[in-house]
Symmetry: C2
Subunit: 298 residues, 2 copies
């Protein structure tokens, strides 16, 4: 069995030895839930639900390996080879063979950064000798530079989390419709994007302008969510472009509306975007690593 | 009587006809309180507390003049002469002569912005022919360009509000000591400041790094508040410098710890800073305008 065990979600898949998915079990029993409920009982429940025995080998990625998780799987350090990820897995002290994959840390005082879970997605979507850029949007959006199969450098942007706290907890809650189901890829989104790309140092002023423009009747509240999203994603992309002048193509690991927004934003900047499904990336990465550990795919 | 009537505070001063302060009355009865309690009863209570009659002429600035305030005092539009601010005051329909000063709007679709209260501080700290820059730090920090006594352009940065929502509602609450009484002007503050000035497009990544650097043991939680403050103030100053290449000196209207931080930050960038007390600026601006309206100072 392979599991993507995140902060607030559990997604487990029972795999055949030839890599086919036999069954899936998912729920809200993420790390935060398991800190109280325990990790072992939650895993047992999911194994039962899947009709698997308690002896089934299990490979886990994600926050279950954080310091506050089940057992800490210490970070590998950049530069690190994705194909060797499984070598950093730590084994749980249990009768069955249960292992947790490590995260990756960029342990540089001037650019400290960490990931846990995304490294497995990277393994899932790259060939052993891959060179290029990968973007994984989300609460903490990540841009990863890979050279010949090694993660050499990465940056995390708080784009998704800033969208949440600004739209819910700041004065901009007046400028954004709370019933809005999130931003759409339309004109307001692209205007926010263009503004951020034209004035990427002005984010904290552009945010206030979003409110002022509605007070003065230039913009509508119904467009607020899309404009905010455009401003934040645009600021992220502007910084990435500034750092990586050679950026021409990117593999985008994402899903749903957020994936569409990033794809639209990056394509509008002339980038060649390959979209890849986030969940499939996790599962494939886990299966690749499981294959290295047990010689077969679980 | 003159009153600075803000969102969450009331500060009133009884002035003699020659401009001396006779008595002061302050409280938490800001606009938000008065939306329910009513503005007139709150004013009456403060007049009684000050021993003034109900016929005392009253001049008000601030959010009491907002759309959701007592009576809306429509914005003047940039460019606008500060010495003519009193001409935009609107009179309350009451037996006594009670007036509210207008705010100022920058009604430009590409740079929309508004202020309400700060315009009175600007009047308070500038000569009729003043040319130069003024900075008013706060929840919504403002930078104003004044030419020959006219407000010609301004920008609002959500610096203070972002500090609050990020430190309280985001993952950075783990990186900032909640008991911290705010940032101090020390090495961590200046490191955050330098980082923002060196990479002003990277704010949303630098925020995550603040957390990552503590996870990796490079930085201490006790320094988190000062670093966050440095990052946000530095990003604001970087954008101001980029927009106003000629910026060499600034009048800083501020108080307390925030005033010290901005003064330290701006001085460190080689700017000539003149610090002015925020409350005194409001009172002086109100008295100047009252003098224009009633021929004496109230």
């Amino acid at each position: 069995m392979v599991i993507d065990w995140g902060t607030s979600s559990f997604r487990g898949w029972l795999m055949s030895t030839n890599g086919a998915m036999l069954a899936e079990s998912r729920g809200g029993e993420g790390m935060l839930h398991c800190i109280d409920a325990g990790f072992a009982p939650v895993l047992r429940d999911h194994l039962v639900r899947l009709g698997a025995t308690e002896e089934t080998p299990v490979l886990i990625c994600g926050m279950a390996g954080a310091r506050q998780g089940w057992v800490e799987a210490p970070y590998l350090r950049t530069p690190t080879r994705l194909e060797a990820l499984h070598e950093g897995a730590i084994r749980i002290d249990a009768a069955a063979d249960i292992r947790i994959l490590p995260g990756i840390a960029q342990a540089k005082p001037e650019r400290p950064d960490v990931m846990r879970g995304e490294e497995t997605q990277l393994l899932g979507v790259t060939e052993p000798d891959f060179t290029g850029y990968v973007c994984i949007p989300g609460t903490h959006s990540k841009w990863i530079t890979i050279e010949a199969g090694h993660v050499v450098e990465f940056s995390t942007y708080m784009t998704g989390e800033l969208y949440s706290v600004i739209s819910q907890n700041s004065i901009l809650n007046h400028a954004i419709d709370a019933t809005d189901q999130g931003a759409e890829d339309g004109e307001p989104f692209h205007e926010g994007l263009s503004r951020a790309l034209a004035t990427p140092t002005a984010l904290t002023a552009s945010l206030f302008r979003l409110r002022a423009s509605q007070l003065l009747g230039f913009e509508q509240r119904a467009d607020g969510a899309a404009r905010l999203s455009g401003l934040l994603i645009g600021t992220e992309i502007a910084d990435v472009i500034q750092r990586h002048g050679s950026l021409q193509s990117v593999r985008l690991i994402a899903a749903g509306a957020l994936g569409r927004l990033y794809a639209a934003a990056l394509t509008a900047r002339g980038l060649d975007v390959t979209k890849l499904d986030a969940e499939q990336a996790s599962r494939r990465g886990l299966c690749k690593a499981a294959g290295r550990i047990w010689g077969t795919q679980h």
